[in-house]
Amino acid sequence: MMLDYSLIWQNLPLYLDGILLTLKVLLISLACGLALAVPLALMRVSRACLLRYPAWLYTYVIRGTPMLVQLFLIYYGLAQFEAVRGSVLWPYLSSATFCTCLAFAINTSAYSAELLAGSLRATPRGEIEAARAMGMSRLTLYRRILLPSALRRALPQYSNEVLMMLQTTSLASIVTLVDITGAAKTFNARYYLPFEAFITAGLIYLVLTFMLVRLFKLAERRWLAYLAPRKH
């Protein structure tokens, strides 16, 4: 099977731009998603029904529907309504990048919130008792003990979530964005070489995945060293 890679070399800038866009979308979505996930997780573990149930409904619906449907709803669906087009949000919602980041952020916030909630619920009792014994208020307890501890312990599962998010960014190509997959589609449409186009895209994603896995191993070594198995 002869693969013609000379055309890929000529079109490398297309793929490089795609990598930059993928990373940009990934970082924005993860940052916003995590920022949204922390209050959501706190709501999920709260004792107040009024806080717990809306948060449960949010994560249930977002995790129960496909990412593609959510993306189409936000990008094409919202633009259907006159009210949205005339509103003050339109300059943002008319941009494909904004819509994509919004959809991805909402999606990852739901998954991350569930992750964090599980981590919060698994906090060792001793830490909470010690904090209370020292006279910490609820706010201080959350700020200095619960959240840092939960975030650290959620790191392995969160790394999975980040890897899944990297793959989900490929859906951006379906709504006109030229990310890595979009670059492959554009290349395929121009030269009719699907093997070369998509194998290159796949390899790029693999490399990015490996880099992220390494990054998270380093992060775990730094923040979860206290939970690592004894080496000596």
Binding site: Y76, A79, R85, S94, A96, T176, T186, A189
Partner: protein, 258 residues
């Protein structure tokens, strides 16, 4: 070794049960998202000019038509891997495409046209659309034209999997203009409620280097058997009036062109 051989043979048999290659049928790829040339009715059935012409040709050739719905940018790759034997989906005959596939004679020829908000003017696309967003269908001749002629001049070209998605974004204001077939734009956008306030503007886009000699039926390179019978059938239905009948169903004017 024996077992794996047996399993392999069984698998091949199971797959070959799906094999349907015989001389009496023709697998034709169609997009089904390009009214009035090809689209689906609410009941989910195929309809459109391309579809009716295809059925007429198959009746003329006395073969069975098998329609395979595909995204437009997947047509030629599918043709190459023998998923389909022909593409009858408003695909223009261009020098570029002739490098990869063979085309039958044309079965219609309509120019491309820009669609923009009413009141806009375009005299020279490269100048008037500079800095604006132009939507095109990926892998179409309009995509090629826009990429090579307009993108260099500073027009932002946005590519969609289907022309309908481009119309949705034009209607909502995300795009300033789209470039597509004049009839397709007129029927599936301008005339619909969503197309209120939009018109066709600018010159007919007809550059033969990009838009060739009209729309033809694409077949694999070297597939002279299918090519011959398709050309014969096209000539036949034009001679015996079937073509005119189908055309009258959709267009009050002649779309065959010169």
């Amino acid at each position: 070794m024996n077992k794996t051989g047996l399993l392999g043979a069984l698998a091949l048999c199971a797959v070959s049960a799906l094999a349907q290659a015989d001389q009496g049928s023709l697998r034709i790829g169609i997009e089904a998202a390009y009214p009035p040339f090809s689209y689906r009715t609410p009941q989910g059935e195929l309809a459109g000019f391309d579809y009716d012409i295809g059925n007429a040709l198959c009746a003329q050739m006395q073969v069975k038509c098998q329609w395979v719905i595909q995204e437009f940018d997947g047509m030629i790759p599918s043709l190459k891997v023998r998923k389909i034997d022909a593409v009858l989906s408003s695909m223009s005959i261009t020098a570029d495409r002739l490098k990869s596939v063979d085309f039958s004679d044309k079965y219609y020829h309509t120019p491309g046209k820009f669609a923009m908000k009413a009141g806009s003017q375009i005299s020279d696309p490269a100048v008037d659309l500079k800095g604006k967003k132009l939507g095109v269908q990926r892998a179409s001749t309009y995509d090629r034209f826009a990429t090579e002629q307009l993108q260099e001049a500073g027009v932002e070209v946005v590519r969609y999997a289907s022309q309908n998605e481009a119309f949705l974004d034009l209607a909502s204001g995300r795009l300033d203009a789209t470039l597509a077939d004049i009839v397709n734009t007129e029927e599936s956008f301008i005339k619909t409620p969503a197309g209120q306030g939009f018109t066709l503007v600018g010159p007919d886009i007809n550059d033969p280097q990009y838009f060739g000699r009209g729309a033809g039926i694409a077949v694999r390179k070297g597939d002279s058997a299918n090519l011959a019978r398709l050309n014969a059938a096209i000539a036949a239905i034009r001679a015996n009036g079937t073509y005119q009948q189908v055309q009258a169903k959709y267009f009050p004017f002649d779309i065959y062109g010169q």
